[in-house]
Amino acid sequence: MRHDGAHHQGLRPLDKEKAAVLAPVLSWAKTAARYPKTADHMEALLEHSEPLVHWLPQSLPLFQDLLAGWIEAPEATLEAHQVDYTRLFVARWGGVPAPLYASWYLDQETFCGDGAEASVGFYERWGLVWRETTLKEPPDHLAVELEFLEILSRAVSEAPADGAQERLSPSALWLDFRLSHFDRWVPRCAEIMGRHAAQPVYKILALSLTQLCEED
């Protein structure tokens, strides 16, 4: 299903200014949506938090909690986030509340279903070949889709003002991807994530996803 950008329901096209703001936010969210394997991963989330705090001021107290925990007991904080990530998204006694795949929400709780195929179709439209590397997850995983949005936002923000027109407008593709796909599942995922998250990173991720989908 594709939407004509002219008939979108309130979603604004991506302009340079907005794209410049969102690119680092999306980069942060993409990292947060991956399993926190190492201390470096946690430190990267802290170190690159500033653009997100500016964009989403209500995330500050959560970042403050995260940093305080990190200073006090980094290993325990890392393991708490690993356990929280696993129980929220991967495997949990009581059922996983918020799987991070589009297909779960769009295709009656399947894995690698039509949602994944739709994602790959969008990536191909921008000439991108999805590659499976370290994540070992499908193409409709939240982290992958956030990276795709990050790529589009950087394409918009870094485009020369008077340069030649791209064959396909990244702003139009952003709009289509958001309306046809991303915004159809991410708000629900974020809402459930926000309700069940115990650790700051996933509370922040839920807040930022909600903000991303609601600010338009």
Binding site: S27, K30, T31, Y35, K37, H41, E43, A44, L46, E47, E50, V53, L60, P61, F63, Q64, D65, A68, G69, I71, E72, E79, Q82, V83, Y85, T86, R87, V90, A91, R92, W93, G94, G95, V96, P99, W104, Q108, E109, T110, F111, C112, G113, A116, E117, V120, Y123, G127, L128, V129, W130, R131, T133, L135, K136, E137, P138, A143, E147, F148, I151
Partner: protein, 734 residues
């Protein structure tokens, strides 16, 4: 913890941390390359949802299975069609609840109400953890301190022999072990083929493979029906198979043995046995004949509640119609359903031989399989000798044949662990607590084990007690080949072409060798990828040849009936020297089942496996679940009247083991003294999102056995069968 001010926070995050970068593009190639549309690819595989191993053909497009069908080249198995379970494979493949990463437990407390608090670990971390725990126990307490709950499949056995533990525990003593032990003892081989389509007379005792949707059985049975064979089914309930029979005989549960002995009595007494076959291919008739003299139809009538005249008539027809065959397989009256079931299975092989249809057209037959070099041969390994090492659950060697067959252990597992003094660790390969009768007791035993590894595709009830979970590929993600063993009237090999792997899972061969390397058993940690090519080459095959042949190598060899049986005498032993030597009854003899109705527990209980369920593998399939989402207590109208209940009312079923609450289904198709319920429900682990919360696990009212009980049953329970329905229950309105 103290919260930092905004200023302090920003100071820290912009300068206080070591420079840590957010990831660059992770998931996409930077080059803006157009990717051409990936067309569908066609693959061959054998279905491994059950042991029928039906050949299948499937298509993959952009990493998704888009079509699946039965392989017509697999003439002995699928013959172009799959069962409902086989067709569910794409849904299993794409199931979001399948395990995706190795997991480690962070909460050491174990129990149904304890959240294990899993965290993802890498495969390297997982192997290191398992290797360290297993090696420590191996060094301090010996290899036998490691328990392996697994089948005797090649990589399972490699793990067992490499470690050198005798303690491999298999589920088949809750399934079909008696048929295997009786078949091997009496006729020298496992009876694993069913030529119903050429039979003229078929008799089954609790046989309901048609109702279980076993593809091969269903096809053969319906062919027999179309060909006009007369079919008689003894069963306390009107099963799906019985509904398609000419005659349904609602026999009293646990007494099939008496009916079989009476049939043998009539056939011998009236000289209806196949004299040519018996004289040429059997020994022991002189001992059998006087032995069964006392088992008259009149005697049997009182025990099994079937008129003597009916038994006489069926025996006469069975003995005088050619070819006539028994229908038996898993979980029928000869399976370990009652404690006298081994005698029942034994009587079945005898009767089959008496009518001359053992390994003959129109009867039951042995598998014809090609010789495949073992893992030991391919990798030139020398394993530690474990022959004769005492088992922790059978120190007195009560049931040597059952353990030699590597098919037993579940019936007494809980008792053995709970009464054990040695610290032990365990690995479970694709087994769940729901595979055990009396799982409540088994869960207590699990808490006693020092460390548990669970290899599975799902987060199961057993996983809730595990310390490490290792996610295994779904079978369709594995590559290799499958040797047909079911219905192998001639050698056949099926190509297995793995679908693209969707998760961070591994094949069991990779898992086993990862564990062995981590245990520093380097001599046995081999490269599993070399096995397939070497084995195929030894058979004169390779993957290309199999592919060119439509995914199946079919030898086309004509069926040659066995002339020399693999018994000590070379003949079918109506008086079994193998059983006698092992301390078991050499001829089938009547023995009462362990339980009889009492005033406190006045009803028999029997169970049924639904056609879309295979050991809970499909429990998470939303479409199959919708076919029947919960199990029920099937009761006779007279029982419903007595209780004052109607369809869909709730009742409690209680046995000495436990109690479950079920909805009622009232039916004329069951004896008034018997209650039936279905297996495959009662999921509580919630790792499987679809199956959770539906119905009840009937295992919770079924018994397991103690080591002392097994000792008492030594003469009659050579298969160590659990006697899964050998209990009685009471029913009350809930």
């Amino acid at each position: 913890m103290a919260r930092l001010s905004r200023r302090e926070f920003l100071q820290w995050t912009t300068g206080g941390l070591a420079a840590a970068a957010l990831s660059d593009w992770i998931f996409f190639k930077k080059a803006l390359e157009a990717q051409s549309e990936e067309g569908p690819k066609l693959f061959y595989h054998a279905c491994h949802i059950c042991d029928c191993t039906c050949g299948m053909i499937y298509q993959v497009k952009n990493g998704r299975i888009v079509e699946m069908r039965g392989n017509p080249a697999d003439k002995l198995g699928a013959a172009g069609k799959l069962c409902v379970k086989g067709y569910s494979t794409p849904r299993l493949y794409h199931d979001p609840c399948r395990l995706s990463h190795p997991l480690r437990r962070t909460n050491p407390r174990k129990g149904r109400d304890e959240d294990p608090a899993w965290k993802i670990i890498t495969w390297d971390e997982a192997f290191a953890l398992v290797g360290e725990q297993f090696r420590r126990v191996y060094d301090r307490h010996g290899p036998d301190a490691i328990l392996l709950f697994a089948r005797a499949r090649p990589w399972d056995s490699h793990l067992q022999y490499a470690i050198g533990t005798p303690n491999q525990l298999c589920h088949v003593d809750t399934c079909y072990i008696n048929h295997e032990i009786a078949g091997k003892a009496v006729s020298g081989d496992r009876i694993w083929g069913w030529d119903f389509s050429h039979a003229k007379y078929i008799v089954g005792f609790g046989y309901d493979q048609v109702g279980k949707s076993k593809n091969i059985h269903q096809r053969e049975f319906m062919e027999a029906r179309r060909n006009g064979a007369k079919i008689v089914i003894f069963d306390p309930r009107l099963s799906e198979t019985a509904q398609k029979a000419d005659l349904w005989i609602p026999i009293r549960p646990g007494t099939d043995l008496a009916a079989l002995l009476a049939m043998i009595h009539v056939i011998l007494n009236e000289g209806l046995y196949d004299k040519d076959f018996v004289e040429k291919y059997t020994v022991g008739l002189d001992k059998l004949k006087p032995h069964v003299a006392k088992y008259t139809p009149q005697w049997a009538q009182k025990i099994c509640d079937v008129p003597a005249q009916t038994l006489v008539q069926i025996a006469r027809e069975f003995g005088s119609t050619k070819p006539a065959t028994l229908a038996y397989h898993k979980r029928d009256a000869g399976g370990p359903v009652f404690m006298n079931s081994f005698q029942t299975a034994h009587a079945m092989v005898i009767l089959q031989a008496l009518v001359g249809s053992l390994d003959r057209p129109g009867g039951l037959y042995f598998s014809r399989t090609p010789k495949v070099p073992s893992i030991k041969d391919v990798y030139k390994l020398s394993y530690p000798d474990i022959e004769g090492k005492p088992r922790f659950d059978d120190p007195e060697n009560i049931t040597p044949l059952a353990f030699k067959a590597k098919k037993a252990g579940f019936s007494t597992a809980a008792d053995a662990i709970l009464n054990d003094s040695k610290p032990r660790v365990a690995l479970f390969h694709s087994y769940n607590t729901t595979s055990f009768s009396n799982p409540q007791r088994f869960e207590q035993a699990l808490k006693k084990l020092n460390f548990i590894v669970n290899v599975d595709m799902y987060l199961t009830e057993l996983g809730m007690y595990a310390d490490v979970i290792l996610p295994e590929n779904l079978w369709i993600e594995n590559s290799g080949f499958t040797v047909r063993s079911y219905q192998a009237e001639r050698p056949q090999v099926l190509l297995d072409e793995g679908a693209p792997k969707l998760r961070d899972t591994k094949s069991y061969g990779e898992i086993v060798n990862g564990i062995l390397a981590a245990m520093k058993l380097y001599d046995y940690a081999v490269d599993p990828k070399k096995l397939t090519g070497a084995q195929l080459a030894a058979m004169g095959l390779d993957k290309d040849k199999l592919r060119q042949a439509g995914g199946v190598f079919d030898s086309g060899e004509p069926f040659k009936p066995t002339e020399q049986f693999k018994t000590p005498s070379g003949k079918v032993e109506l008086y079994s020297t193998v059983l006698e030597k092992a301390g078991h009854a050499p001829m089938p003899e009547w023995v009462e089942p362990a339980s009889k109705p009492t005033p406190e527990y006045p009803y028999y209980i029997v169970t049924h496996h639904l056609p879309w369920m295979r050991m809970l593998k499909n429990a998470n399939d939303p479409i199959l679940k919708d076919l029947q989402c919960e199990n029920k207590a099937h009761i006779h109208p007279s029982v419903a009247t007595k209780l004052g209940v109607k369809d869909k009312d709730f009742v409690w079923l209680e046995s000495p083991v436990g109690r479950i609450k079920l909805k009622v289904a009232v039916t004329e198709g069951i004896r008034p003294d018997t209650i039936m319920t279905e297996h495959g429900f009662g999921i509580w682990a919630k790792g499987r999102c679809q199956g959770f919360g539906w119905g009840q696990n009937e295992g919770e009212i079924l018994p397991d056995r103690t080591l002392a009980e097994m000792k008492q049953w030594k003469r009659h329970a050579a298969g160590r069968g659990v006697g899964i329905c050998d209990t009685t229950v009471r029913i009350t309105k809930a």
